[in-house]
């Protein structure tokens, strides 16, 4: 069953109370109308009674005037009789008018009028005529029971009319009282039912509000205590349902926000850790060449060495100082790359010659590693920034030396493959795990094994990859952990036509 909303509950309550008040009002109205009707009826009955008594008095006046004249012969009684008789049409008409809407009473009134008429016409007139001739005969006539009988008849008819009227009035007033009693009963019942209704509905509404509110309050307390996983059971009235839905979506979004904040926090912390690692790594990277420079400088200043040794130490100082300069250059390059400010000065040059130069630099005798160099006899010309590409090749060579055991072999080869020049540098070093391999070109990435044992900023390959990419070339790595790595650099050859041209020149010249 669908639960009613609070608004619906309150509306239902209002409607119920309004209906009961309406019933109360109608009952009161009916009682009032009934009482008023009874009152009208009573006053009408009073009028009818008065009119009836008048007719009764009239008949008595007629009889007493007639008897007076017959007994006394005094004509003054005839005047009284005439006066009474003149009142007959008015009084009888009055009574008739009052009861003409009431068939049984009208019949009685008409009977009384007919009897009165009969008394006047059939009896009284005759008695007067006889009395004028003989008062004795008339007296006998008058004394006879006929007159008395007629008057009694009229009186009885009128008495019946009065009795009926009294009955009517009594009945009407009793009915009015009954109606009023019923109305009072209905009113009391309506008041009791309304009170009960208000009470029950109030409890119903309160139940629909208080319980869910308590539930929400308890859940809110949980949320305040930090438990954002709190969810309320859906249900309750429409308003409570909406509250529950809103509450759940609030805790839901709070939870999501908290997760996001925690994630962001974690990222910030990660970044902070990264920065700290970077700073300590940079300082470490700087310390080793610095130690050599400072140490040999101090020795040269403090002690006397033969010239050849002096020269050797100066060379070490020079190479270590260059190493420092190289580190500074790496950081500058990263800054330039990050800002997109790395500008290339491109000229066509021989890549074979560049590789030769670099290997000579890195495998200066006495060298720590053995070099195996495999290059073609003829030049492979590429179009690019010679200094930057020297940096790339130098980085590959220094890595091969750095990450492989002393006296290991470093194999360097240059060849052309279709429209590309390919430079490969292989070593027998510690290698790179498959999962770390794609990351070695990321800025500041150091494979965990390498980071713990070999110094480095994690910048060289990132810078190299960027330089190669801006020459439309590729730089890839393949490696077997523990067995060595091979870095392969490819650059587009722009020399094909120039080489052909050179050959043609040679042909022409010969």
């Amino acid at each position: 069953m669908r639960r009613l909303s609070l608004v619906q509950r309150v509306g239902l309550l209002a409607a119920g109370v309004a209906a009961l008040v309406g019933i109360l009002f109608v009952a009161a109205l009916l009682a009032i109308l009934s009482l008023r009707k009874a009152e009208t009826r009573e006053s009408h009955s009073k009028d009818v009674t008065v009119a009836t008594l008048q007719v009764k008095a009239l008949s008595a006046d007629l009889e007493s005037a007639l008897r007076g004249y017959v007994l006394s012969g005094n004509p003054r009684f005839l005047d009284l009789y005439a006066a009474a008789r003149a009142r007959v049409p008015g009084d009888v008409g009055n009574l008739h008018t009052l009861v003409h809407n009431d068939p049984p009473q009208r019949v009685r009134a008409e009977n009384a009028a007919a009897e009165l008429h009969a008394y006047v016409v059939d009896y009284a007139q005759n008695v007067i005529v006889i009395a004028r001739i003989s008062r004795e005969v008339a007296a006998g006539q008058a004394a006879s029971t006929d007159g008395k009988r007629r008057i009694d008849e009229i009186n009885s008819t009128l008495q019946g009319l009065l009795a009926a009227e009294n009955r009517r009035a009594k009945l009407a007033s009793e009915h009015a009282r009954d109606v009023a009693n019923v109305a009072v009963g209905i009113g009391i019942a309506a008041i009791i039912i309304s009170s009960a209704l208000v009470g029950l509905f109030g409890a119903w509404v309160a139940r629909g509000v208080a319980r869910p509110v308590r539930r929400v309050a308890a859940a809110a307390a949980d949320v305040a205590a930090g438990d954002l996983a709190v969810r309320l059971e859906p249900g309750g009235t429409a308003e409570v349902g909406a509250l529950v839905t809103a509450f759940n979506s609030m805790t839901g979004s709070l939870e999501v926000s908290r997760h996001q904040l925690l994630d962001q926090n974690e990222q910030l912390r990660e970044g902070e850790r990264h920065k700290r690692d970077l700073i300590s790594m940079v300082s470490h990277e700087l310390r080793t060449p610095l130690a050599a420079v400072l140490g040999f400088t101090a020795l040269l200043l403090e002690r006397d060495f033969p010239p050849d040794e002096q020269r050797r130490y100066l060379e070490i100082i020079d190479s270590q100082a260059r190493r420092l300069a190289g580190l500074a250059g790496d950081f500058l390059d990263v800054k330039l790359l990050a800002g997109g400010d790395l500008t290339l000065v491109r000229t066509p040059f021989d890549l074979v010659e560049l590789v030769r130069e670099q290997t000579e630099l890195f495998f200066l005798q006495p060298a720590s590693h053995r070099l195996s160099l495999d290059v073609p006899g003829q030049p492979l010309v590429v179009d690019g920034d010679r200094d930057r590409l020297s940096q790339v090749v130098g980085n590959l060579l220094s890595n091969a030396i750095k990450y492989s055991p002393e006296d290991g072999e470093v194999r360097v080869s240059v060849r052309s493959e279709g429209a590309e020049a390919v430079v490969a540098v292989s070593d027998d070093g510690i290698g790179i795990s498959a999962e770390d391999a794609p990351r070695v070109f990321e800025k500041f990435f150091r494979a965990p094994d390498a980071a713990s044992t070999v110094g480095g900023t994690g910048l060289g390959l990132a810078v190299a990859a960027d330089i190669v990419a801006s020459h439309e070339g590729t730089l890839e790595v393949s490696s077997t952990p523990g067995a060595g790595s091979t870095f392969v650099l490819t650059l587009p050859l722009v020399v094909v036509r120039a080489a052909v041209g050179a050959e043609q020149d040679a042909v022409t010249r010969s």
Partner: protein, 130 residues
């Protein structure tokens, strides 16, 4: 005459993967000591076991077996118990120093180091040993 043939100068083993730094320590110690050099942890242990020196200058960051691992091996080996160990490191936060000392280093030498500190450390350890 036999005494002249036997070299009784204190013996020092320098372990560092950076050739210039090995050379710097060797040159600094000069003629008073007889020095040997190796460039990684495995070679260091092999050399140590072959003929234990008086003092080892041990770099922490070595390819393969690290300096602290070598230090632990030295301290675990009764034959090498008396070898004086100077840990040399560019990592010189307090925790790096603590790790070295807790694992039995006799001395900690941060890079870059002063010439006299190298000599002092070597003399001290040799003097204690002899």
């Amino acid at each position: 005459m036999t005494t002249e043939l036997v070299d009784d100068r204190p013996r020092v083993l320098v372990v560092d993967d950076e050739a210039p730094l090995r050379e710097l320590i060797v040159v600094t110690l000069g003629d008073e000591f007889q020095c040997e050099e190796v460039s990684d942890g495995e070679a260091a242990l092999a050399q140590l076991r072959k003929s234990p020196p008086d003092v080892v200058f041990l770099d922490v960051m070595l390819p393969g077996l690290g300096g602290i691992d070598v230090l632990r091996e030295i301290r675990a080996d009764p034959a090498l118990r008396d070898v004086g160990v100077v840990v040399v490191s560019a990592w010189q936060a307090q925790e790096d120093i603590d790790v070295a000392l807790e694992n039995g280093a006799d001395s900690f030498l941060p890079k870059p180091f002063l010439v006299e500190d190298v000599l002092t450390a070597a003399h001290e350890l040799v003097g204690r040993r002899r």
